[in-house]
Amino acid sequence: MTHEELEDSVPLYAAGALDKVERQALEAHLLSGCASCHSALKDYQSIAALLPLSLSPITPPRSLKARVMAERNPMPLPAVTEKKEPAKPSLEPGEWMEHLFPPVAPARSSSLPWALGFAALLILAVGGYVAWSLSTQRSIATSNIQQLETSLQEKSAKLADVSREVADQAKTLAELRNELEQRTIEATAVKEQLARREAELEDTRVELTQRNAARIGKTPQDELATLLKIPNVTAVSLTGSDMAKRAVGFLLYDARTQNAWLYSINLPESPPGTTYQLWAIHDKPVSIGTFNMDPGETSHLLTKKAPRFAAAKTFAVSLEPSGGRPQPTGPIFLLSRS
């Protein structure tokens, strides 16, 4: 609305003829400090307050004063709630005077309008400052809120990154832990396997030792040295017969293992189809085992189990047909001294 339109609406305002929107527009204009409209409103509202005087007076019932005087409280109570509150009270006592001005009376001080104008301007100035201050504070607060929101979003993004990193590291740690467990299991298995291998190796070593012991005759010095290391061994010497005068034999017997070793030297080559056979003779000859002397061989070691060897008193080696015989049938080549 233009100023002219607003100024035109002042008499309508004083008469109470403006609708709500127009009334608020004019009030806002008056609060903005328009002196001419303010002055006009003072005049028109003072006239409006006099209008009821144009009515023919009606005296209220006499009982009304008695009721009024009886119902009021002993003391004025400004803060007491009203007994009957209208649905939409248009004005409160005192509030209406913000825009209503009394008629210009001769008794009234001429400085009052100026004082009122100054007060209105002061109110407007303070109101404007407060509005500006509130607006500025609101802008600052809004800006701060936006900055805080931005900062919060950045922090949230960083937190999300850190969370993802932590999750990745946790996943990696879990994988490493699983791998470690698998490695530990594998290491245990390897260790067990190693233990088994060591056991096998030890067995192999023992077997090798036994085998070496079994093959001890191939090297006379070593074989003899090995035999002589056996404690409590019984040694029997055999002498060559007329069939082989240069031949000698040593028979060793270990009672603990019941093993017997015949170490024969310089026996002649056993012809094809024949074999040497060792006998233990107690009451009758008992075969201990057979062996052959290959061409060029000068010594031979025979190793056999001989459970009944301890009871024998005489030992002999005869040349028998291949496979041996239950009893001696061929010539004697070695014979112990009984």
């Binding site: 035109d8 008499p11 309508l12 008469a15 109470g16 003829a17 403006l18 609708d19 005049d43 028109y44 003072s46 006239i47 409006a48 307050a49 006099l50 209008l51 009821p52 005087l53 144009s54 009515l55 023919s56 007076p57 009606i58 005296t59 209220p60 009304l64 004063k65 009024v68 005087m69 119902e71 009021r72 409280n73 002993p74 004025p76 400004p78 007491v80 009203e82 007994k83 009957k84 209208p86 649905a87 939409k88 009270p89 248009s90 004005l91 409160e92 006592p93 005192g94 509030e95 209406w96 209503l100 001005f101 009394p102 008629p103 210009v104 001769p106 008794a107 009052l112 004082a115 009122l116």
Partner: protein
């Protein structure tokens, strides 16, 4: 003689309200005596019913008694405060009644006729009151009937200019002009009366 000191109704001394603020019952009784006829007349004019007007006035005076501390002499005369408070409460009651579907035209007409038939002044009314009443009456009656009607519909029935235009079946601009011209003439007439009084 100073004119202000002669008015009992139109120029109630603000000091009287100051005494009421202190709980002075005698001051409150005087305030009632000097204002009740004018306020009751206004309430009857708006509500069109004496009983309802009396009920309203009872509420208004109780409110005055309770809220008298809110009165600010720097912003208006005591009688202007009382008139505006009574008018506001009466218009509120009138609108509440209208929203409930009650019509008031017939009652209003009958009470208006009663007002016209009961011109007797209040026993407490002074010569100064009568002079002011006469001046205002003359100013109002000097207005064209259409302007009186438009101002009365706004002032006593609380209608906006568009509602008045609808009620009278007149263009809105016409109604606005009537009210503006009427208020302007009242302003000029009373200003002349004041100046004349001052000269006397």
């Amino acid at each position: 003689m100073d004119k202000a000191s002669q008015y009992t109704t139109s120029m109630i001394d603000p000091a009287l309200l100051a005494r009421v603020m202190t709980g002075d019952q005698q001051a409150f009784s005087q305030l009632y005596d000097h204002s009740s006829t004018l306020l009751f007349t206004l309430a009857v004019r708006i509500l069109g019913n004496r009983e309802e007007a009396a009920e309203l006035l009872q509420d208004v005076y109780l409110e005055v008694w309770r809220k008298v501390s809110r009165y600010d002499v720097g912003r208006g005369t005591p009688i202007a405060w009382l008139v505006t408070l009574t008018k506001s409460r009466a218009i509120d009651r009138l609108r509440a009644r209208a929203s409930r579907g009650y019509g008031s035209t017939n009652q209003l007409e009958s009470e208006t006729a009663a007002q016209m038939a009961d011109p007797g002044p209040s026993p407490l009314e002074t010569q100064a009151d009568q002079e002011l009443r006469s001046a205002v009456g003359t100013a109002v009656s000097g207005l064209p009937q259409a302007q009186q009607q438009a101002i009365a519909l706004a002032y006593y029935e609380g209608l906006s200019h568009s509602e008045i235009a609808s009620r009278l079946n007149q263009p809105l601009g016409t109604v606005k002009t009537r009210i503006k011209l009427g208020m302007s003439k009242l302003r000029e007439s009373l200003q002349q009366w004041r100046n004349h009084g001052d000269l006397q």
